[in-house]
């Protein structure tokens, strides 16, 4: 120990160096205080977020179940009845559930192939500068507010559908078109990212075995990115399911069971946005809207779980 201290030759002018090594090792320092401070701030932030989530859930569950507990409306009827007339105390949510799923699935199924094909073109076939130009453009499209998409739907798509198929043009088809436009950039961008993550060596190895470009894409690149592409699709569909404003603008807002793609209908979200200002807090018709909101939350949770399952499958 003495030898060690001598070999360091501490300068006596600097105060802390005069202390013995053992003291210095145990004394609190600026660094340890910073560590503690950092931990404290992080914990507080997590508490805040966690608290928000917990209170949000508690509030929505409390309000959402009031229709069944306070107003004694049957849960079965809420989920299976097609009769939504709050003025007559009929709260059958099935038309909205069905419409929500219809627009979501249709938009997702339409957008997936297009997103996949454009992503393949951008990552695999076109020169790299196309990617560098298009990626920011696509990300810009992702960030456009939904009201803009809704407005385009209202002024372009709805009249056009009316001219093509007759009627007003409002309905599931118009909502599907708007949602398709909205989620296509998200899904394309995510699919591009996933395809780019496929190691370049897979492409080389495949080409080295005599594969054509198309064979490499269809047999190696896309299968390797499969779980990521599915994640992109579910992510896009989750966004479509939760979209309120753009859908409300073009779907016609008639809470009846949809019979065709061109008849006015309503989704869970569009009924909520239309109705929440027109009801009095605490009444049965207001509680019914909260029940719809709870249903939406549960669906978002289901989408999230699905995403988790898919992306975990991708990890080997």
């Amino acid at each position: 120990m003495d030898e060690l201290n001598q070999s360091f030759k501490p300068k006596p002018t600097v105060a802390f160096r005069r202390k013995k090594t053992t003291d210095r090792l145990l004394a609190p320092s600026v660094e340890t205080r910073q560590e503690w401070g950092g931990k404290l701030v992080s914990c507080l932030a997590i508490l805040l977020i966690g608290g928000l989530v917990v209170t949000l859930f508690a509030f929505l569950i409390n309000k959402g179940l009031a229709l069944f507990t306070t107003d004694k409306f049957s849960l079965g009827a809420f989920l299976t009845s097609t009769d939504w007339r709050p003025s007559h105390h009929h709260y059958g949510a099935l038309p909205m559930i069905a419409t929500s799923f219809a627009v979501t699935v249709l938009a997702g199924v339409l957008a997936l192939p297009l997103a996949l094909v454009s992503a393949i073109a951008i990552t695999e076939l076109l020169p790299n500068w196309v990617y560098r130009v298009l990626q920011p453009v696509i990300e810009l499209l992702v960030g456009i507010p939904s009201v803009v998409y809704g407005y385009v739907g209202l002024t372009v798509i709805v009249p056009q559908l009316g001219r093509m198929f007759g009627g007003t043009g409002f309905g599931i088809l118009a909502a599907t078109c708007v949602l398709f436009l909205m989620i296509l950039p998200t899904m394309t961008s995510m699919t591009i990212d996933n395809l780019r993550q496929v190691p370049q060596q897979y492409r080389l190895a495949s080409a080295g075995l005599g594969a054509t470009r198309w064979q490499t894409i269809s047999r190696v690149v896309v299968p390797s990115a499969k779980s990521g592409i599915l994640t992109a699709m579910v992510f896009g569909m989750a966004r479509a399911f939760g979209e309120a404003l753009a859908v409300q603008m073009v779907i016609g807002n008639a809470a009846i069971m949809p019979t065709c793609l061109l008849s006015s209908s309503a989704t869970l979200t569009s009924v909520l946005t239309t109705g929440i200002g027109n009801t009095v807090m605490g009444t049965a018709s207001n509680n019914a809207l909260w029940s719809l909101a709870l249903l939406l939350l549960l669906m978002s949770l289901a989408f999230n779980l699905l995403l988790r399952v898919i992306s975990r499958k991708g990890v080997r």
Partner: protein
């Protein structure tokens, strides 16, 4: 001189305007292992990749590459057929995220082979040739990514062998592997040369002297010396070769 598997005449490769390989002429003897050695940037990997047209999208390759009397470097050549005949194994083991079985038959599937018996037989044959069969025969349907690095590289060799190429090109096939896996692969290569011709790039002098019959030394894009491995190592004719082998540069 023995039968020639592949003959290169005046090969030159340029990336854009930058010439990286010039005036390389070589005859690769059949059923032999030829090692391409040289410092980083000497152009040996570029030459190797040109031999089965893997440089097509990256560089301009001029000169003749004669395979069975046909210049496969001409634009008319069917690159996909060329690559089936002249296979390639890369530095990093690159099994696809598929089962071991599907990895091995990848090239056969590309060629349209569907007969299950043919596929089964070829899987066993190729895995035996690559000295991997005994280790994986009970788990052919499990993911190839679960194998160790050395096993993955032997799987990649088996995958290349499955299409029955005449020549296999190897770009530093063992540089990502530990010594045990390396020596297993070197043993495999020596056994394989009965069936085919092997051309490999290596940074490892011992590997070249252990397993290669012929060695070509490249320096700054030029072929400096090409001879039997023993001659190159024991009695190099060029000063540059001698300097490189004795570690004066590289």
């Amino acid at each position: 001189m023995e039968k020639t598997a592949l003959e290169v005449k005046n090969l030159a490769v340029a990336y854009g305007t930058k010439k990286v390989v010039e005036q390389v002429s070589l005859k690769f003897p059949a059923h032999q292992i030829t090692a391409l050695i040289g410092a980083s940037g000497s152009g040996k990997s570029t030459v190797l990749r040109s031999l089965n047209r893997m440089n097509d999208d990256l560089a301009t390759v001029t000169g003749e590459i004669n395979f069975h009397g046909i210049d496969i470097n001409q634009p008319k050549a069917n690159v996909y057929r060329v690559r089936q005949q002249i296979g390639m194994v890369f530095q990093q083991p690159t099994p696809f995220p598929l089962s071991i079985y599907e990895n091995v038959i990848y090239g056969l599937r590309l060629a349209g082979e569907k007969d299950r018996q043919v596929l089964d037989a070829r899987v066993e044959e190729s895995l035996r040739q690559a000295a991997l069969w005994n280790e994986v025969k009970d788990q052919l349907n499990s993911s190839a990514l679960a194998l160790s690095g050395g096993q993955q590289q032997r799987l990649c060799i088996a995958r290349t062998l499955a299409v029955r190429p005449e020549i296999i090109l190897m770009d530093e096939p063992t540089s990502a592997l530990d010594p045990v896996s390396t020596s297993q692969i070197e043993d495999t290569l020596v056994q394989l040369k009965e069936q085919l011709t092997i051309i490999m790039v290596t940074h490892n002098m011992q590997q070249a002297s252990r397993s290669a019959d012929w060695t070509a030394f490249m320096h700054q894009g030029h072929l400096v010396e090409f001879n039997k491995t023993a001659e190159i190592f024991m009695n190099p004719q060029e000063q540059q070769t001698a300097d490189y082998l004795s570690g004066k540069f590289g």
